[in-house]
């Protein structure tokens, strides 16, 4: 591929004998907005730090513009990083923070001044030149960090959960702003986040990671609509994941009955995971539905109600605009195109049943689980990754 900027091949990283990245291969195209998405300790920050030159992989190759990056230190790479908590220089004001990279490169003062003004305009911080960093709000510090990273005109920008510290509304605005900056500059953005909504709304491509391995690479539509395994289905959006059997192409059995579906290419009688999104289930009278069950929970979410329905012991999550109360019997209907069939994986049976809380929630009330141990087990994958 002519427009390849970065290529990772079978990259493996271990900290203190613990595998953090396990044979990760990833090609990044020039000019794309690619997001590494995954939960804490999945290896996304480590992957980013490999690109920045802060982590040297034990095995595998990293090439940038066709050249091997083995042993190339961070200061000799044509990439810039926006760090989790911005990492601005506390002893320098806004202007000097942004000019830092240019001063190191001995850029003539006139050009330096012009370029700093240019990026200050881009991030809407004109007039803030002489401000001290400590006198800025989180959002303003974020903008300084963006300006400081862009002023050196890197070929690739690495962003390590840059919006995590901002409040919701500002985060949404910065998502749009970052996307606009990326489009107008046309440089490659590698964005790390654990926020699936952020990943879906900003990226050209999403790389879903877990346990140091890439689970799926695809467009936001791909990973949402065609998850490759139960982990991806569960991590991105809400999913009901049900044990099923593929009877033949276009016919699948789960929850005690046969359903028409649009997927095929499986063996006869092959056990599969069936994914059904809560928003795809239609609610009606018990006798009119394909399945029926007892409502055990109903939460008003603004746009819709989130309803938990017990169908023969399996708890479904359903989203509906109708007001449904606990104790009601309702019927559920699923269209053929809303049934997504996946091959069984190591994650089968771990996710997708709404009878329990999330793992994180369970851990909160488990005295045997030590948060410190979990943090230590994560190794060097960013302190609050």
């Amino acid at each position: 591929m002519a427009d390849l900027i970065v290529s990772l091949q079978d990259v493996t990283v271990a900290f203190d004998g613990e595998i953090v990245l396990d044979r990760v291969s990833l090609d990044i195209q020039n000019g794309e907005f690619i997001t590494l998405l995954g939960p804490s300790g999945c290896g996304k920050t480590t992957t980013l730090r490999i690109l920045g030159g802060f982590v040297e992989p034990q095995a595998g190759t990293v090439t940038f513009d066709g050249r091997s990056m083995k042993g190339v230190p961070p200061h000799k790479r044509q990439v810039s990083t926006i760090f989790q908590r911005y990492a601005l220089f506390p002893h320098l004001n806004v202007y000097d923070n942004i000019a830092f990279g240019l001063r190191v490169r001995k850029t003539p003062e006139a050009e330096l001044c012009e370029r700093v003004e240019q990026v200050l305009n881009m991030v809407n911080l004109r007039g803030f030149e002489k401000r001290r960093i400590q006198a800025l709000s989180g959002g303003q510090q974020q903008r300084v960090a963006i300006a400081r990273a862009l002023v050196t005109r890197p070929k690739m920008l690495l962003l390590d959960e840059p919006l995590a510290a901002l409040d919701l509304k500002l985060r949404k605005d910065m998502q749009v702003e970052l996307k606009n900056i990326q489009k107008s500059l046309g440089i490659t953005f590698v964005f790390v986040t654990h926020d699936q909504e952020e990943a879906l709304s900003m990226s050209d491509r999403v790389v879903v990671m877990n346990d140091g391995r890439i689970q799926q690479i695809g467009t936001p539509q791909d990973v949402y609509n065609e998850p490759q395994n139960a982990f991806v289905a569960d991590f991105i959006g809400e999913s009901n994941i049900i044990d099923g059997v593929m009877l033949r192409d276009g016919l699948c059995r789960f929850a005690g009955r046969d359903f028409e579906c649009v997927d095929g290419g499986f063996d006869r009688e092959q056990p599969v995971d069936v994914v059904i999104r809560p928003e795809d289930v239609k609610v009606g009278a018990p006798e009119a539905g394909m399945l029926s069950g007892l409502v055990t929970g109903s939460t008003f979410k603004g746009v819709h109600y989130e309803v938990i329905v017990d169908v023969n012991g399996f708890k479904w999550m359903v989203q509906t605009t109708a007001c449904i109360t606990v104790g009601e019997h309702i019927g559920l209907t699923v269209g053929p195109e809303d049934i997504h069939v996946m091959r069984k994986s190591e994650y089968s049976g771990l996710f997708g049943d709404y009878s329990t809380f999330s793992d994180e929630m369970d851990r909160l009330s488990d005295p045997a689980f030590s948060a410190e141990e979990a943090a230590a087990a994560k190794g060097g994958d960013g302190d609050d990754d």
Binding site: G52, F54, H75, T81, F83, A87, L88
Partner: protein, 274 residues
């Protein structure tokens, strides 16, 4: 005073205010009183004329204080930097080692140093065992400076180490990311960020070095510093007026030095407080 909350806050500060009044303000006023009076209690400036004869002592005190401060800085800065680069566990151990001498009485430490430096002391005995000529160490300016460095170096290491540990790793990585190699990162980020620590370290070593009397009298022999003279005038001569005048001048000079030092911190009050 109508606000009970404000009143309570003032009450919390009361013990210190009483302490400050009794043990700081009153003694200072007394020093000033003695400095401007003769033994009969009449106002006079003659004490200051008398001090002029001791100008060489003042110069020597400042020179030796400055020398020991510089040596402390040259040793402490790289040491503090190296300590911050160790693992947290090693850091704790090394800092305990740095602090350890401070748990031992100053007198004891100075006597120990005396035994090391004497003409028949440990160092010279070691030299004679190796069939090397003896060196005269005790009662020299070098011995006094060594004593100052030995006694006051923890006060230099501590504040520098403190500011250095507060430099966040991502800030150093940002510097590397923006094109700085190791040395440039040190010059452009680590050093500027550690200046407040250097300033408080210098202050905390320079002030006791200039005013010490014990170290110079035990290790310096005939070398007398301002502190020795102040001690002598108070204790042996009972000449409170001359002693108080010297104290006042010394205080003024230290204040001046601190004002100059604080110019380097860009107005941050942090420096004196650390």
């Amino acid at each position: 005073m109508t606000n009970p909350r404000a009143l309570r806050q003032k009450l919390v500060a009361a013990p210190y205010l009483v302490w400050a009044a009794v043990f700081i303000v009153v003694p200072l006023a007394m020093v000033a009183y003695y400095a401007f009076t003769d033994p009969a209690g009449n106002f006079t400036l003659s004490n200051f004329h008398e001090i002029a004869g001791f100008s060489h002592t003042f110069i020597l005190s400042i020179w030796l204080g400055l020398l020991s401060t510089i040596i402390c800085l040259l040793i402490s800065y790289p040491l503090a930097y190296l300590i911050t680069r160790c693992s947290p566990k090693t850091q704790r151990l090394l800092m305990v080692l740095v602090m350890l001498p401070m748990w031992i009485n100053l007198l004891l430490r100075t006597y120990a140093l005396m035994k090391l430096l004497e003409d028949t002391g440990f160092i010279n005995e070691l030299l004679s065992l190796l069939h090397l000529p003896p060196v005269h160490l005790i009662n020299t300016e070098g011995a006094v400076v060594a004593g100052m460095v030995y006694n006051f170096i923890p006060y230099m290491i501590l504040p520098i180490y403190n500011v250095m540990t507060r430099i966040e790793t991502p800030v150093l990585e940002a510097s590397r990311d923006l094109g700085c190699n190791g040395f440039q990162t040190f010059r452009r980020v680590v050093f500027p960020l550690s200046i407040p620590g250097i300033v408080s370290g210098v202050t905390m070593v320079f002030v006791p070095s200039v005013s010490t009397f014990y170290i110079s009298s035990k290790l310096g022999g005939s070398i007398t510093l301002v502190g020795d003279i102040i001690e002598y005038t108070f204790n042996s001569e009972a000449n409170y007026n001359t002693g108080a005048t010297m104290s006042l001048i010394l205080m003024g000079m230290i204040l001046l030095c601190m004002l100059v030092m604080n110019q380097f911190t860009g107005g941050d009050e942090e420096a004196i407080l650390v």
